[in-house]
Each structure stands twice: as structure tokens, then as C-alpha cells.
């Protein structure tokens, strides 16, 4: 691939922790969780009684570029994060054309519109379905609204690969910018899945914790369902420099692989190969990576597999590498997870702090390692790595670096 360098000039985040990338960073740095009690009137049999949701009040307070009756929450989340990133980058004032693209993933798309529509139609004796259901539900709606809002007429993609949607979106955007197919790209992921039907579907798969989300801990018993959006504005170093933009960091490597094995059970070989590809792409040694923002869902299977994969990749350096999952803070935001965690990984590098893996109580002999616990740990490193793994056997790893000197 070319020697073009791809830098980040804007970041935006919206999650249960609040609006703003800095708000998200402060929450993960300080270990302040967005977990709240959550019950659904439509779920009389609901058993897990909490999530990391975005309240309607919070959404109304921050909503921008609203088109009444046209947008599901999933689009509104994305537009809030995109506006923050675009304002910070200054790109929206520089004029956008067909050399600027949008690659924004989502796992479920407009889940609330779907739930509302089905509820009204099936449950209420054939009640009216929203005639605008389809444009609200389609997974690419958020990406399209972003392109329309800012006039980005370049390539547009919506990568829907469950929990790797956002990391793969950012990875693909990075590759396309690097390859000269775009000058800049608005990229990330969005998910608005704390909705009755989707919540229940996760609950009955038995992967939601009825208590606390405890990644890598012996007593872990599942994940905390979150939601939100994370958006990055990325562009060539040449473009950013020419505009005089403030450069926040660089994407230096990306790797993605498929287990081609089991639909649900992760394979450490696939995850390790993903990280190794990213490291090779970055042209660095594993030991140079000082912080890993793990996928760390707190399911029994993921944390064992991911640790085994990290051990294979980092070898003897693994013990010295600061690793944490920040999902107990912002929740597992599925198709937005990799974007929120990219925002965290970029901030961790800037602040030289590895945020804590909260709720960890004891080492699991099957995992055999202890993440960053308690409070944020000072690090001294030039690179951070973020993993996202998905059902379907999909692995994606992104490596971030400091702004080029």
C-alpha cells in the first residue's frame, strides 16, 4: 500500500456517559459507569434490570440536525457525534466534495422504529405502521444522514458486522484514504439497541450479566448492554496539514480476519491473526504497544479467547502491557463499540493513561492475567491498540499513534 499517512482531526462520542469525546474519556479514566436501572413495560418477563442507555432527555438535550419523523435514535446518536467531530476537525468549513466519504457502521439500524412498528401492528390489532419505517430502520440511514448533512458526496458504506461494525468501518476508511480513494472520511459506528425487543434477544442468549459487568474477572457472568455513537474524521496528513487542522492522532495499522469456524465461539487464532496483521501494517513491534483497549465483553468465552490471543501476539511482553476493557463504563455498544473505544484509545495515548478495567474482583486461572484495575495507570508509549470481535467469527484490530511530528 502507499506511504500516505492517515491522521485523525476530529472525534465525537455520545454514550450513556454523556455527550462529547472528552466526557467519555473522563468517565472511563475515572471509572464512572453509565450503568442505570432499566426496565421495559413491554417485557413482563425481563430479568436483567439494568443497561447503559441514553435517556430521551439526554438525547433531546443534545440532538442536532433533527428532521422530525424521519430519523430513528440510531441516526440522532450518529449526528450528535458527527457534529462534534466535524466541528473539531474544521472540515465542514473547508468544503466537502466527492473526495470525502462516509463509512459508518451499525449492527441493528433503527431498532426502536422496528420495535414500535411491530408492536403497533401486531400487538394492537393491526395498528398503523409508520409509513417511514423503512428509511428509519435501514442500517445505512445514519451514514446517509451524515453525508446529506455535510455534503460529503464521496464513497458511502455501512458496514454491518455486529460488534466489529465500527472497527471495520474505521479500518476500511483508513485503507481507502491511504489508497488515495478519498481525501477524508467521516467514519465510526452507531447503535441504538437499548430497546425492548433487542434487549430481550440479548437476554435470552444468556450473555447479559444479571449483576455487574466484570471483564477478565473469575466471577464474570456477562456483558452490560450499552448504546451510542462514535465518529472520527480522518484524512491524509497532506490534507490536514494544508488546512492547518489540529491533528489529534494517527491511524497507523489495521488488521481484520475471519475465524471461519464457529458462529458464536471465538477462536484465539483468528483474534491473534487480526492483531498481527495490524502490527505488521503499522510496521512496529508488539512491544511498542503500551496500551490495549480489549474487546473484553465479560462473557466467559471472549475473555479467555482474547487473552490467549494477546498472549500469542505479545509473548513475553504481555505482562508488561497495560490492558483494560472499558465496557463496564460505557457498556457494550455493539455496532458502535469499536468507535467509542477508538475515541478512548486515542485519548489514552494523548493523556498517557491506561483507563481502569472496573469491577475486576479476582484473577481467573483460565485467563491468567490481571488487567489495569483500580485507577488509571500511567503509561509511556507511542501506540495503543483497540480490538473488536464479533459473532460470526469476525476480528478487527486498530492501532493508533501520536500526531506525526
Amino acid at each position: 500500500m502507499s506511504n500516505t499517512r492517515v491522521v485523525i482531526t476530529g472525534v465525537g462520542a455520545f454514550s450513556a456517559c454523556g455527550a462529547g469525546a472528552e466526557t467519555l474519556w473522563q468517565a472511563v479514566r475515572d471509572g464512572v459507569t453509565g450503568m442505570k436501572p432499566k426496565s421495559f413495560e413491554r417485557l413482563p418477563d425481563q430479568k436483567v434490570m439494568h443497561a447503559a442507555p441514553i435517556s430521551n432527555e439526554m438525547l433531546q438535550e443534545h440532538a442536532v440536525h433533527v428532521r422530525p419523523r424521519m430519523q430513528d435514535r440510531v441516526t440522532k446518536f450518529a449526528l450528535i457525534a458527527a457534529e462534534e467531530a466535524m466541528t473539531q476537525s474544521g472540515l465542514k468549513d473547508a468544503g466537502l466534495g466527492d473526495d470525502v466519504g462516509v463509512i459508518v457502521g451499525s449492527g441493528f439500524g433503527g431498532a426502536e422504529a422496528l420495535d414500535e412498528g411491530y408492536w403497533a401492528h401486531y400487538h394492537s390489532g393491526g395498528g398503523r405502521m409508520d409509513p417511514l419505517s423503512i428509511p428509519k430502520i435501514m442500517t445505512n440511514a445514519a451514514a446517509s444522514w451524515i453525508s446529506m448533512t455535510y455534503g460529503a458526496t464521496g464513497p458511502i458504506y455501512c458496514n454491518s458486522t455486529a460488534c466489529s461494525s465500527a472497527s471495520q468501518s474505521i479500518g476500511l476508511a483508513y485503507q481507502m484514504v491511504k489508497a488515495g480513494m478519498m481525501r477524508a472520511c467521516i467514519t465510526g459506528g452507531t447503535e441504538a439497541c437499548v430497546v425492548a425487543g433487542v434487549f430481550r434477544a440479548w437476554e435470552v442468549l444468556r450473555v447479559l450479566s444479571p449483576t455487574l459487568c466484570r471483564p477478565f474477572s473469575r466471577d464474570r457472568n456477562g456483558m452490560l448492554l450499552g448504546e451510542g455513537a462514535g465518529i472520527l474524521v480522518i484524512e491524509t496528513l497532506e490534507s490536514a496539514t494544508a488546512r492547518g487542522a489540529n491533528i489529534l492522532g494517527e491511524i497507523v495499522g489495521y488488521g481484520t480476519t475471519s475465524d471461519a469456524g464457529d458462529l458464536l465461539r471465538p477462536d484465539p487464532a483468528g483474534a491473534a491473526a487480526s492483531m498481527n496483521k495490524a502490527i505488521k501494517d503499522a510496521g512496529i513491534d508488539p512491544a511498542q504497544i503500551g496500551y490495549v483497549n480489549a474487546h473484553g465483553t465479560a462473557t466467559v468465552a471472549n475473555d479467555v479467547s482474547e487473552t490467549e490471543a494477546m498472549r500469542r501476539v505479545f509473548g513475553n511482553d504481555f505482562e508488561a502491557t497495560a490492558v483494560s476493557s472499558t465496557k463496564p463504563v460505557h457498556g457494550h455498544a455493539l455496532g458502535a463499540a469499536g468507535a467509542l473505544e477508538a475515541v478512548v484509545s486515542i485519548a489514552a495515548l494523548r493523556e498517557q493513561l491506561a483507563p481502569p478495567n472496573i469491577n475486576f474482583s479476582e484473577e481467573d486461572p483460565k485467563v491468567g492475567f490481571v488487567p489495569v484495575t483500580g485507577t488509571a495507570r500511567p503509561i509511556s508509549t507511542s501506540y495503543s491498540l483497540s480490538n473488536s470481535f464479533a459473532f460470526g467469527g469476525i476480528n478487527a484490530s486498530l492501532i493508533f499513534g501520536h500526531p506525526p511530528a
Binding site: D45, K47, V48, E203, L205, R206, D219, R220, L264, R265
Partner: protein, 90 residues
């Protein structure tokens, strides 16, 4: 004491019926010492078994280390009985 034993036996029988139905295995093969692996009871079957336990006993069991360590039919019965009887701890 006798009542407690009878209750335990009744629960175990109910659970065996449930496991046989949800995992689609012959009830007669569900001997206490039988290995779940040998019976071809895998993770997808566990999801179905846990769903049925929720419906019948109103208890939510997510997949944790205890559950993923189960080896025999008796292990499964013991864990299910324990989870059904204990309130969920925070």
C-alpha cells in the same frame, strides 16, 4: 428432612425431563455420571435449557465460569438446583 429429599428428587426429575426435551436427547441416556460432551449437549443446547429453566422457575442464569465448567449430567443438575434456590447476588 424427608420432604427436602423428596423435593430435591422431584426437582431433579423435572430438570432431567427439561434437559432431555431441550437438548433433544433420549431421557434414558441422562445418567448422573454421563458426560455432557458424550451426549452431544453443547453451548447451543445450554441456551435452550437455560431458557426453559427461566420459563419454568422464573430464574435468570447467564453463562459464567461455573456453567462453562460443567462436565456431567449431575454437575448440570446440581448447578441448576443451586441457581434456582439461591437469590441473585449483586
Amino acid at each position: 428432612m424427608r420432604n427436602a429429599t423428596n423435593d430435591t428428587q422431584k426437582l431433579q426429575n423435572e430438570l432431567l425431563d427439561l434437559v432431555a426435551e431441550e437438548a433433544m436427547v433420549d431421557r434414558a441416556t441422562l445418567k448422573a455420571e454421563a458426560q455432557l460432551e458424550d451426549l452431544d449437549i453443547a453451548s447451543a443446547d445450554f441456551v435452550m435449557i437455560l431458557m426453559a429453566i427461566e420459563e419454568k422457575y422464573d430464574v435468570y442464569i447467564s453463562v459464567d465460569n461455573e456453567l462453562s465448567d460443567l462436565k456431567t449430567v449431575q454437575d448440570l443438575l446440581d448447578l441448576a438446583a443451586k441457581k434456582i434456590s439461591e437469590p441473585e447476588a449483586e
